[in-house]
């Protein structure tokens, strides 16, 4: 074998200096790195001072999804307008809590002047928030509230008001009377609860002719929501309208109605996405509420800039929402906030 032709290797003693050299090299490099970093630190501080642009680190719940890209767009636009620099990061999916914690931790390492954060899990980021508080870095929460006193304000959609608007359009669609069903994505998340309660409360107050069926939960899963929708239609053939509380629920409602072979049921949705947009353009869905992700991004940066200047901030900032249907879907203002 080839091994036989290998020249004899150096003896045992050779190994030790090699390892020592490695350790020495590593130690020297680290020392050099430390020294150099010290210099560059001083350099930045020197050229910093008055002229340095405020830096705002933003960590969102996601990154490549169209919704978060729209938030990023709004944040970048506002940053340019106000002359600040920002960074925008988020984990690949909304389940990667640990990845988000690492991102917040890394962001704080850059010593930002303010931190914008849409927490996936309030508890998990709490130590980071405390760290920010100790350092005097103001925190602006966005998209959903953080269960903590540390953030100065929360820039988010008023889901309750948005759901009330959905209810208003639904009442109009069904002519103010008849059975209406709700397929909601969650009974525990803040957005699920608000989008349910806002809808129910508006109906109870303003549309006495509408009979609301018991609320059903599909976890935001399209297939599950479709099955639920079909079950609702089977047990209530006279149902006149169905509301889906987020993209997955709304898509499930559209699918369930279609699979039941009905075209006389009005549907109202929430958020956007290609499927919902198509359904609205083709008249299979009456319309939907969209949040305004671009404005969420703008408001985070605007609030952060105010916080850096020490200005007072309101407890919450409503970032607004739009009702969109066949009549206004091509409006550039609507097009900008829809994601596909």
């Amino acid at each position: 074998m080839t091994r036989a032709t290998t020249p004899p290797r150096p003896d045992r003693r050779r190994g030790r200096p090699a390892r020592a050299a490695t350790v020495l090299a590593a130690a020297l490099s680290l020392l050099a790195a430390a020294a150099l970093s010290g210099c560059s630190d001083a350099g930045t501080t020197a050229e910093g001072g008055e002229g340095r642009k405020p830096y705002i680190a933003i960590v969102s719940k996601g990154f490549q999804q169209q919704f978060w890209q729209a938030v990023k767009k709004g944040a970048e636009r506002e940053a340019e307008k106000r002359g600040v620099t920002i960074s925008f990061e988020g984990p690949a999916t909304e389940t990667e809590v640990e990845a988000q914690v690492n991102m917040v931790s890394n962001s704080l390492g850059r010593k930002p002047d303010a931190l914008g954060l849409a927490a996936l899990d309030s508890r998990a980021v709490e130590p980071m928030l405390k760290q920010a508080e100790r350092r005097g870095t103001p925190v602006i929460a966005f998209d959903s509230g953080v269960d903590s006193d540390i953030p100065l304000t929360t820039a988010a959609t008023d889901n309750r008001a948005a759901a009330a608007e959905a209810a208003e359009h639904m009442a109009e669609e069904v002519g103010g009377k008849g059975k209406v069903a709700l397929v909601v994505h969650s009974q525990t998340s803040g957005s699920g609860v608000d989008r349910r309660d806002g809808f129910v409360e508006w109906m109870e107050k303003n549309a006495p002719g509408v009979e609301l069926l018991p609320v059903q939960y599909g976890g935001g899963d399209q297939t599950k929501s479709a099955d639920i929708t079909k079950a609702i239609i089977a047990s209530n053939p006279d149902v006149k309208g169905i509301y889906g509380s987020n993209e997955g629920s709304a898509m499930g409602v559209i699918q369930g109605v279609k699979e039941s072979g009905r075209d006389d049921i009005s549907t109202v949705g929430f958020d956007s996405g290609q499927g919902q947009i198509n359904a609205i353009e083709e008249g299979r869905m009456a319309g939907a509420i969209t949040q305004n992700p671009v404005r969420i991004g703008e408001q985070v940066v605007a609030a952060a800039v105010k916080a850096v200047k020490g200005e007072k901030l309101p407890e919450t900032i409503d970032t607004g929402y739009y009702w969109y249907d066949k009549s206004n879907i091509d409006d550039p203002r609507i097009q900008e906030v829809l994601y596909r």
Partner: protein, 338 residues
């Protein structure tokens, strides 16, 4: 084999010893490459950003290494036998959920719950081991199946909702607390270091370690020399499982909750750490030191790229290139050595 047949016994012994030294030297060289890589990225980012080289950023980097690093330690054992363990990521999630069930729902004391979680991880590994040996499934398939089962079970058992540990149980202190007074140095990093040392001793100084390498370099020959390969393979998967359990404790203690939907993708990062550290996917060769360095390279890169404001889109591109470079350097070295 290496010594001429006519050589007197003494010379033969020398040759074997020489062979051993040669292996030690090459493996040290491989570690040197990995260390050099780590030092290179470290120095680079120290130049690139004034915020990189300071105590709090370094602890934060170490902290972010812990979970992937712990999984990678276990995965190294399996990979050295020539196997692969794809179940480490979601297996960890399942263990985190079990820890939540035992401590929060059953109200067991924290130490008992932690021990139970480690054992549960061992059980996950045991099932993998049995599937690989007695059912004869390829490790890729057996652990792929376990990856799916664990992901599903984590959701079923938790009811698809996070399980929160109470603040005063002291559970979160396992990861986020600091036993070094006044240092603000996360315990999780110390636990990871201790786990790496114990793992290293097992892999280098015990029978289990010797058989792990032996199975990886030539399974048939190992079996022919009278070693119960099946038994030792099962033990290797159980060892990997114990690390999975430990990672489950560390991640849930860090987050203050067991997050049932997370974990997918961690197995690939763990494998990446192992491979960057110079362990060969074809088995028989590798070291835990390398794996620790590999895991550190990944987290230093992630942290550094973020701190120097490299757009997120590019961060994975760079990580992928580093994997190619690391494994290519390893191959090139081997070609030279042969």
């Amino acid at each position: 084999m290496t010594a001429p047949t006519a050589a007197p016994p003494r010379q033969k012994q020398d040759a074997t010893a020489r062979d051993g030294v040669r292996r030690a030297v090459t493996s040290r060289f491989q570690q040197f490459l990995a260390v050099a890589g780590l030092v290179a990225v470290f120095v680079f980012f120290s130049f690139a950003s004034p915020h990189f080289l300071n105590y709090s950023n370094i602890t934060s980097m170490l902290f972010s290494t812990v979970v992937i690093g712990t999984l990678a330690l276990g995965a190294t054992f399996v990979i050295v036998t020539g196997g692969i363990d794809l179940s480490v990521g979601t297996g960890m999630t399942l263990c985190a959920v079990m820890s939540g069930v035992m401590i929060v729902e059953w109200g067991l004391p924290v130490p008992v719950g932690v021990l139970g979680t480690l054992l549960f991880g061992g059980l996950v590994g045991l099932v993998n081991g049995l599937n690989v040996t007695f059912l004869g499934l390829p490790p890729f398939i057996a652990t792929l199946a376990m990856m799916l089962v664990a992901q599903g079970l984590a959701l079923v058992i938790s009811g698809s909702a996070p399980i929160y540990f109470s603040e005063d149980s002291g559970y979160t202190g396992i990861s986020t607390g600091s036993v070094i007074p006044g240092a603000d140095f996360p315990n999780a990093v110390l636990i990871f270091a201790v786990a790496a040392v114990i793992g290293g001793v097992v892999l280098n100084k015990t029978l289990l370690g010797r058989y792990t390498y032996s199975i990886g370099s030539n399974e048939e020959a190992t079996a022919l020399s009278g070693i119960d390969v099946r038994k030792w393979k099962i033990i290797v998967y159980v060892v990997s499982g114990l690390f999975i359990g430990l990672a489950g404790v560390l991640i849930s203690a860090r987050l203050g909750s067991a997050q049932p939907a997370t974990g997918m993708g961690y197995e690939l990062q763990a494998i990446a750490a192992v491979v960057i550290g110079g362990t060969s996917l074809s088995g028989g060769k590798g070291s835990l030191t390398g794996t620790v360095i590999g895991a550190l390279i990944i987290s230093v890169l992630n942290n550094g790229l973020q701190i120097t404001s490299v757009p997120q889109e590019w961060q994975n591109v760079i990580l992928g290139c580093v994997i190619v470079a690391a494994v290519y350097a390893d191959k090139a070295r081997k070609r030279r050595a042969v």
